[in-house]
């Protein structure tokens, strides 16, 4: 099977890989919406969705009941509902942009996955670890930032095309917030790449190389960057929350003061696309954080993946790599939800103050500090 796959033309291979990734990401995004409801319920002392069931699944003893209690069928029911609901078009909207916005939301979210490695396998021929990735290009993190930022256009478009007050305010907030936090986010990863790009080597922004540099032998080499550069990780984490519009930074949506924010005028499938995009964004953001600071597919600090799977068949090794990475990402997504259902929303002025007056100086100081520190370490 593997051989058959490897014999195919490269573009078909890429298309197949792309399809598989989409087919994984979208269900994960969907599952996230269910997880969100379950986690919120558990935190609030409720069982959460647990009623919907499919007859012939319910007949399976124990397991059927378990799935029902888990609310899995609510997810299907929701999906079916979104697809079959009447497609309502408010009379006052700008039709073209109104329909464009949900698509614009989804496209960048799915595009960024191209440069994110989500696993690694051991290539016996070269005796090296190779990334499982759609496009192993050196621009890596730059591409993630560049494309990922485009998603804010969907919010602005949605807010503007809705031709109504609340969505418009939501869109304005989204753009301001994105600009504020994009800076800190970019600055926070500079020390990571300063460390990865040791003098003399090929300059790289590849996320695969970031993980590789966390898989070196020795105390410093095997240390995950979250321990090496905790402040970078913190700034990146805060900015990531702001970028993905999650609580406590979900200014664009902000039900309490903006009804539904940018998606007030949206319904049925178009509305769900925004949420698929948001969760896809969250998934990729979690992945990037895991790659940058949590050692990627390395199961534990100072325990690299490569020696563990060196003797295994290529597909098994690959699956283990992907598995470890997915587990870490999902745990991180859980953190997103956990925080969402713990913290209240900031006021908008607080968001701006934190972004510009607190986080940005901190990120700049952080860059200077690590630049100096790395220079000192490299020199010695």
């Amino acid at each position: 099977m593997i051989d058959l796959y490897l014999d195919l033309p490269v573009w078909i291979q890429s298309a197949l890989k792309g399809l598989i990734v989409i087919m994984v990401i979208i269900p994960i995004a969907g599952a996230c919406s269910l997880a969100e409801r379950k986690v919120s319920a558990w935190i609030q002392g409720r069982p959460g969705p647990n009623r919907a069931t499919v007859p012939w699944v319910a007949w399976i003893p124990f397991f059927g009941k378990f799935l029902q209690r888990l609310g899995v069928f609510h997810l299907m029911a929701d999906g079916a509902k979104f697809i079959f609901k009447e497609d309502v078009l408010p009379g006052h909207v700008n039709k073209f942009y109104y329909y464009l916005a949900p698509l614009v939301a989804l496209v960048p979210a799915l595009c960024t996955i191209v440069v994110v490695p989500f696993g690694a396998y051991f290539d016996a021929a070269t005796e090296t670890l190779q990334p499982v990735i759609l496009a192993n290009v050196d621009v890596g993190i730059l591409a993630v930032f560049a494309i990922g930022s485009l998603s804010v256009y969907s919010l602005i478009l949605a807010g503007w095309a809705s031709n109504s007050k609340y969505p418009f305010l939501g869109g304005v907030r989204a753009s301001a917030q994105l600009i504020s936090y994009e800076l800190s986010m970019t600055l926070s990863v500079i020390p990571v790449f300063l460390w990865v790009n040791a003098p003399g080597g090929n300059g790289t922004l590849s996320l695969f190389d970031v993980v590789q540099s966390q898989s070196q032998p020795g105390f410093l080499g095997g240390m995950w960057f979250v321990f090496l550069m905790p402040l970078c990780a913190f700034v990146f984490l805060v900015a990531l929350f702001a970028e993905t519009n999650r609580q406590p930074f979900d200014m664009p949506e902000s039900e309490a003061d903006l009804v539904g924010g940018f998606h007030t005028e949206y319904g049925e499938f178009k509305w769900s696309l925004f949420f698929v995009a948001e969760y896809a964004h969250m998934t990729i953001g979690s992945g990037v954080f895991v790659l940058l600071f949590l050692g990627g597919w390395n199961p534990l600090p100072w325990v690299p993946l490569a020696p563990l799977i060196a003797g295994l068949p290529i597909w098994l090794g690959g699956l283990i790599g992907i598995g470890v990475f997915l587990a870490k990402s999902l745990a991180f997504i859980f953190l997103f939800m956990w925080i969402r259902w713990t913290l209240p929303r900031f006021r908008y002025d607080q968001v701006m103050t934190i972004g510009w007056q607190k986080l940005l100086p901190l990120a700049i100081g952080n860059v200077i500090f690590y630049a100096l520190a790395i220079a000192v370490i490299e020199r010695s």
Binding site: W42, I43, G45, R46, P47, W338, I339, W341, T342, L343
Partner: protein
């Protein structure tokens, strides 16, 4: 009006970073996540109805099976949303309850109107109408939501009686003035 100025304690550095508070908040929510759930899963498990609960109004019989309502229509009069409709009737002379003389011929409570205030129970001189522990009343049509006499007695059942005043009345009538 007097004012009292409350001194605000300045925030410490740790507080200003929000981080310790966020962490303690996360701890709280995590504790709740693993705690047993509070939710009562309604149709399967039923709530415990406290004494004196004001549920659906019903008509009751006394322990001897006598219909207590004598259709005095006070409940109909007092009912704020005018949910009660009674058509009074006479008990036939052949009945062994003939000494009560009066009983409702029709007794309708429109549950679409009822506000469960309990004034009917409070005003009833015969202790015949009781708001008992049925709290869920539903139907597909307006007609279904009107409880007629049969249904009201079905819902009400029998409640204990303290005085049996009508039985005493009947006994006195049978004994006549010779008894004293």
């Amino acid at each position: 009006m007097s004012f009292k100025t409350v001194e605000r304690k300045p925030l410490t550095f740790a507080e200003r970073t929000y981080v310790p508070q966020i962490l303690s908040g996360l701890k709280t929510t995590l504790r709740h996540m693993v705690k047993p759930k509070e939710t009562l899963e309604y149709p399967e498990t039923r709530p415990i109805i406290p004494d004196g609960y004001r549920g659906v109004p019903t008509l009751v019989k006394d322990p001897h099976g006598r219909e207590k309502c004598v259709s005095c229509q006070l409940c109909e009069f007092v009912c704020p949303p005018k949910a009660i409709r009674i058509k009074p009737g006479e008990i036939s002379a052949e009945s062994d309850q003939a000494h009560v003389e009066k009983a409702p011929e029709e007794f309708d409570i429109d549950m679409l109107r009822c506000i469960y205030c309990g004034l009917c129970q409070e005003v009833c001189p015969e202790e015949a109408i009781w708001l008992q522990n049925v709290f869920s009343m539903s139907g597909y049509t307006r007609e279904e939501m009107v409880n007629d006499k049969t249904r009201l007695y079905e819902l009400g059942g029998t409640l204990p009686d303290d005085h049996f005043k009508w039985d005493k009345k009947k006994a006195a009538e049978e004994a006549g003035n010779a008894a004293h």
